[in-house]
Each structure stands twice: as C-alpha cells, then as structure tokens.
C-alpha cells in the first residue's frame, strides 16, 4: 500500500461519521425540524455502542445499541418539540449538553478498555483492482452504509411520494396539514431517523475509528455535521462532498503539520473549516440553492 493510498483511507474514515450524521440531520431539517442536538445524540451512540459491544462481546450488538440510543435521544427531543411544541433551538442545545454529560456516566466503567475494532470487508474481485480496489472496495461496513444512505435518501426525497410529503411538511406545514398530511407524524419519523443516523455515526467513532472510549470523543463532529447540512443546501450529494472535503482537509493538514509546512499550526488546524465553507458557498453560488426549507424550526400546532 502506497502512502497515497494510506492517506486516502484515513480520509475516508475521518469523513464517514460526518457524512452519516449530516445525512440524518438533512432529512430532519427537510421535514422542517431543526435539531441542534446532533452532538449529544452522536456521543450517546458512541458511549452506548462501545458499552454494549464490550458487555456482550458483539460488535453488531454494539452498533444496534448505538442506533437505539440515538433514537431514544431523538424521541426525547421529539416529545418536547413536536408533542409540546417547545422551542427547537433551546431543546436542541439542551440535548447536546445533556448527551455529553450522560455519555460520560455511561462510558465511565469502560474508560481505557481496548477492543478489536470492526474490520474491513473486502469485496471479492473488486478489491483486487489495483489502487481503486483497496481504497473503494476494502472498507469497513460503515463506509458502504454511508454511501448507501446518501443514495437512498436522495432517491427517497426526490423520487418517492413519501419524500415529497416530507419536503412539503418542511416547506409549509399549514398547507400540508390542510391537504390532510400528518405533519407531526412525518416530523416524528424524520427526527427518529436523524437520531438513528447520529447514533450510527457515534458507533463508528467508538467501534471503528478509535476503538475505545474517551469522554467527549465526538469532539464537535456533531456541530460540523450541522454546518455541512446548511452549506450543502440540504442536498444529499452535496452533503457527501462537504463531509469528504472536511475529512480530507483535516487529514491533509495533519500531514502538512508533521511535514513541517512553514505555516502556523493554528492556521492549518483551521483549514478544514475555512475550505469546506468556502467551497460549499461557491457551489451554492454557482449551482443555486441555499434558501432552506421554509418552515425550518417553526413549531406546528394543528387546530382541532
């Protein structure tokens, strides 16, 4: 394996959790709900995922538990913002802080416990292709899942009636309700999906990326995922571009730092943020988009 291939592999592993979390939040926001608690759901996924994996000895069970943990956090958010129509920004921020705290408690018994990470799955024959093979077809299952998610969500949103209804709820909930669509039910399911994705992204961190638990190990990735959704103009493929750009520049600047590039390390550390925002803003300018779902963040109370 060449150095270049090795760098590409680390780029993919750095980008995957961002992409999974961003796709989930993208669906949530398309339905008109702003859940700022991605960071909290993600870290709960990481903590519960590794706790379950160590306790049961099964990585698959760990992943399942992480997804359920993310969904449980999302259900709490949905109960408050959809059921009781409270302020989504406030509850989302609270969820992020709550998740960071609670994950510390859940993960405390497992600090420093090392375990084998989930390995790569080499796709027969395809992975033997020189260069492309090991980079694209010898990855861990999460990488494949991330791209399946992007393609699936894109197809769902723009090619299915259910996706159309979901987008309609995000554009104008009063009209969607007047046509007889169940706005709150659609939004609840979208929020749950977002929670599941955030939990899955968390599981990736604690089961694959760094296969042990340290508190606060999401390190702000939930917030990056939120930003990617906005700068990607709520389009799934653009979110993939944003996530990979961010992951890519993160790894490259680390290599640049170790190679002794004569730039302040603080500037290099800021590069992923600067470049991702710059590129996605340019894409927005050139290709349009950027307005966002019109009813984003607005509570809906049907009059019955």
């Amino acid at each position: 394996m060449t150095l270049f291939e090795a760098i590409l592999l680390t780029v993919i592993t750095a980008s995957t959790p961002l992409l999974i979390a961003a796709i989930g939040e993208l669906v949530v926001e398309r339905s008109g709900v702003l859940n700022l608690g991605v960071e909290g759901m993600m870290i709960m996924g990481a903590a519960v995922g590794i706790a379950a994996a160590i306790t049961t000895g099964s990585s698959a069970f760990g992943v399942l538990a992480a997804v359920l943990a993310g969904m449980a956090m999302a259900a709490l958010f949905a109960l408050l913002t959809l059921g009781l129509a409270t302020n989504q920004v406030a509850v989302g921020l609270a969820l992020a802080i709550f998740g960071l705290g609670l994950s510390g408690v859940v993960g405390a018994p497992f600090v420093g416990v090392q375990r084998e990470g989930i390995g790569a799955i080499a796709i027969p024959y395809l992975s033997d292709i020189p260069f492309i093979g090991p980079v694209l077809f010898a990855q861990d299952p999460f990488v494949y899942a991330a791209f399946a998610l992007v393609a699936g969500v894109s197809w769902f949103l723009f090619r299915t009636r259910a996706g159309l209804v979901l987008r309609a709820c995000g554009e104008n909930h009063a009209s969607a309700h007047a046509l007889g669509h169940h706005v709150l039910r659609v939004r609840f399911l979208a929020v749950l999906f977002g929670g599941a994705c955030a939990g899955l992204a968390g599981a990736y961190l604690s089961l694959v990326y760094t296969p042990f638990w340290t508190s606060g190990m999401t390190a702000g990735r939930g917030w990056i995922a939120l930003a990617i959704v906005v700068f990607a103009s709520w389009l799934p493929w653009r979110a993939a571009v944003g996530a990979y750009l961010f992951g890519g520049v993160t790894i490259l600047q680390l290599h640049a730092q170790s190679a002794g590039v004569p730039l302040p390390t603080q500037l290099l550390a800021a590069m992923p943020y600067l470049i991702t925002i710059l590129v996605l803003v340019l894409v927005m300018r050139l290709r349009g988009g950027g307005a966002g779902p019109a009813a984003l963040g607005q509570p809906f109370v049907p009059d019955r």
Binding site: E171, A174, A178
Partner: protein, 505 residues
Amino acid sequence: MTTPLLDAPLLDATGLVKRFGALLANDHVDLRVMPGEAHALLGENGAGKSTLVKMLYGLLQPEAGHIAWEGRPIHLPEPRAARALGIGMVFQHFSLFDNLTVAENVALALDAAEPVPRIAARLAEVSRAYGLPLEPAREVWRLSVGERQRIEIVRCLMQDPRLLILDEPTSVLTPQEAEGLFATLDRIRAEGRAVLYISHKLEEVRRLCETATILRHGRVVARTDPRTETAASLARMMVGSEVAALRHAAAPPEGPVRLSVRGLSVAPDDPHGVGLKDISLDLRRGEVLGIAGVAGNGQEALFAALSGEVLAPRAEQIILDGAAVGRADINARRRKGAAFVPEERLGHAAAPRLTLSDNALVSGHAASGMVRHGLLDRGRMLGWVDAVTRAFDVRKGPRDPEARALSGGNLQKFVVGREVLRKPGLLVVSQPTWGVDAGAAGLIRQALLDLARAGSAVLVISQDLDELLEMADRIAVLFHGTLSPAEPVAGLTREAIGLRMGGAA
C-alpha cells in the same frame, strides 16, 4: 354509482356545532347542497363560514351534529375521507408550496401514489380541457396569484369531485381573472358537479349561485335565492342591520401638493419579491389617492419606501411638504407630520404582547409628546388609548389590554385611529379594512375620508377595488412594481382598472 334522485340532497349537514375556547364558531348550523347546484355560503368575517367548510372537508371535527352524503350518514376524520367521497376544496389562503413545482403540488393533494411525471401528463390534459393553462414543471413562486389559484382548482378537478368547495376564491383576483374563474365554474357545473361558493362579494353570488345560506355569528340566519334578492337586502341579512353608505363631502378644490414622489426605484428585498420601478406620484391636500393592484405587485415595497422603513436611493425622490425626505427614517418623517398604518395589524402595526398604551407609544413616541426627558408619560399614553377608544368605538374588556386580545376589527380600528387622531398631514395606509367586518370597515373608511377633507393627504393601498372606488378621489394601479398615472375616479370603470391590474393596459 347509482343516479341520485333529483330531490335528494348531495350533502346534508344538520346541527353542526364547533367551539374554539369561549367562541361558538358554529352553533347548530344546517346546510343542504343539492346535486349540481351552485350554493353560496354568505357571511361577514368571523361568521363561521370557514369553520363550517373545514368540517365538511374533514379538517375540523364537529362537536355535535350529523353530515349525510347522498342520504348516508358519514364521518370525516380527515381530508382524505372527504376526497374519497368526492368533496374537493380550493382554499382561501392557498395551500401551495412555493419551492415545489406545479406537478409536485398536485401530487401532494392526490391520495393514490402516482409518479410525478405521470401526474404532470394528466395535469396538462385536465388543464387543457378546462381552459386553465399551467406548466407542470414550473415552481410555484414564479407564478401569478391567478395561476396559483388555477393549480388549486385543477388539482381538485383531477380527483373528479362531486362537490367543489371554494373559499373566497376571487378575493385575490383581478376582475378579468375572476371572469375567467366564473367561466370555469360554469363549465364545472355543466358537468353536474355541485359548487359551494363562499364569499362576501354579493354581486358575484347573485351572478353565480341559485341558493344561498347566510351565516351570522355562527348561526344560519337565512336561506334564500340570491337572484331574487338585491345586494343591499343580502347585506342586510349578513350584517343584521342597514349598512350605512359613506358620506362624501364635496371634493376639495385642488390644494397644494403634500407628497411628491419622483422616479423612485427600489430593488426587491428577497429573490421572490417585487421591487419598485420608476414610481412617480403627486398627492394633494384634501384628497384620497387609491393605489389598486393585486397583492404581490410591489405594495409592500411601496409602503416601505413611503414610510421610510426602506430608504429611497436619493433624498429628493420623496418630497413631503416641500422637504426632501427620501433618506430620512420613519421617525423623521413622523416628526414632519406623516403617519403610517401598515397592512399587517398584528406583528407590524401592533406588537401582539404589548398593551395598547405601549403600542400607542411605539408609533407615537417621536411626535405625540408621550416621552419627556427620556421618561414615559404613562398618563398621556393611557389618555391616548381612551381617546382612540372613544373616537373609533374600539370594543375591549379592560382599559388597557394586550393588542393580541382584541378582535381583528377592533385592533384595526385602534391602529388606524391611533394615527388618524394625530391629525397627520399625510397618512399612508395599506389594506385599511382587510378582514374587517362591514361595520368597522365603514367607520374606518369614513374616518379616512373625513381626515382628507379636513386638510390632510391620504394614500390608501388596497386590493379591494370596491373600497377604492367608494372612497378615493383618484386611483393609480400598481403592476409588477410600476405605477400607472393616477386618474380621477369619475372617469374610471372597473374594467379599465382591472385591465391595468392584469398588466394589459
């Protein structure tokens, strides 16, 4: 499907009751629509018309009463159930999605899952058959109000309804667009579909419908054939008393110009909005100038530019009593004797959670002496509320309630009265009687007219052409951000104004 007997009602609702908190919106309402009939539902704002049809469409659940469809009792838990029976509805405030395409908007209202391209093809077919041209792939925000209404109607027709409910369909149309709608409705009726037509425009109802049910305060007060009634007799039934005609003092001799606008252009504030293009107008002392136009043709930009909420590019583009104020903010303009009443009464003209006295201060602090040495003069503020209450018959519970506690009509009387009582030299008012009952509307129009005749200059921006024809001395038409020259009302016809509202002249 069996052929219904000619004398069996298509829809028969009896004793419907709906309550919102303390308000009894529908009090044992009966409504009977015969097959193929054009049935009018008449009533003032707040009479309970919309509540009634929402129950018939499954959007609201009645607390008591029964609905029968072709003689069979039915229960409508949601709009889907109503659509399945053959009840279609065209909403007053369109239930469209601006960022979605026409075809997607139609797909959302159909209950069977159908691929959007197939819907687009069917849509083209239906819209051709009914003479309602529509482009399936266009986004809704690019369309005119008339085209948007076509989407609503076409998507109802695609469900092959037996009963089509239209909630105030002409309130946003030009007279010519309304004529087009009537022709479509005639065609729909010729196919044997019944139409339930909600309106408070009496001439339309007399032209279109053969039966009318009239609601007042949530009760049915009359059932009649509108063709045998006069507009005045229908109005009497709706309001419950005689509607006073506006008292016109003689038009004043031509006074000096108080407001002069020259070559004013303003860019739209958002990509979907309409700005102003090279607007010029003169407004004289003693006159009422009406600005007609369909909503969304630059009314908001014009109000913002005249009030100073958005500054003009150059100061001399707006001249108030000889002073160039184009670059002056709203308070500077108020100090020069101008006053402004925006369209949206709750949220723009008045802060919902502030008391009336605080709201009086919000617009009057610059010019009404309510602030002295930086301190609020509570007594004077309350006095102002009392004065407005007396002069404009504002009905409220406590002396100084929050603005949101007032009904629409009473709050509108308050926000107009708050400015009129200051005796401003110039009053700019947008949609002064939108959604206000006939009594309050008459009072507000009379106050504006009296203010002008006492020496002020009054500019009224309104979508209600009847209102402008009734009170304005001259009328100009706003279309796509350009303003036609103002002409005396005496020489204008509805048709001439209507053509300009549609951009045809």
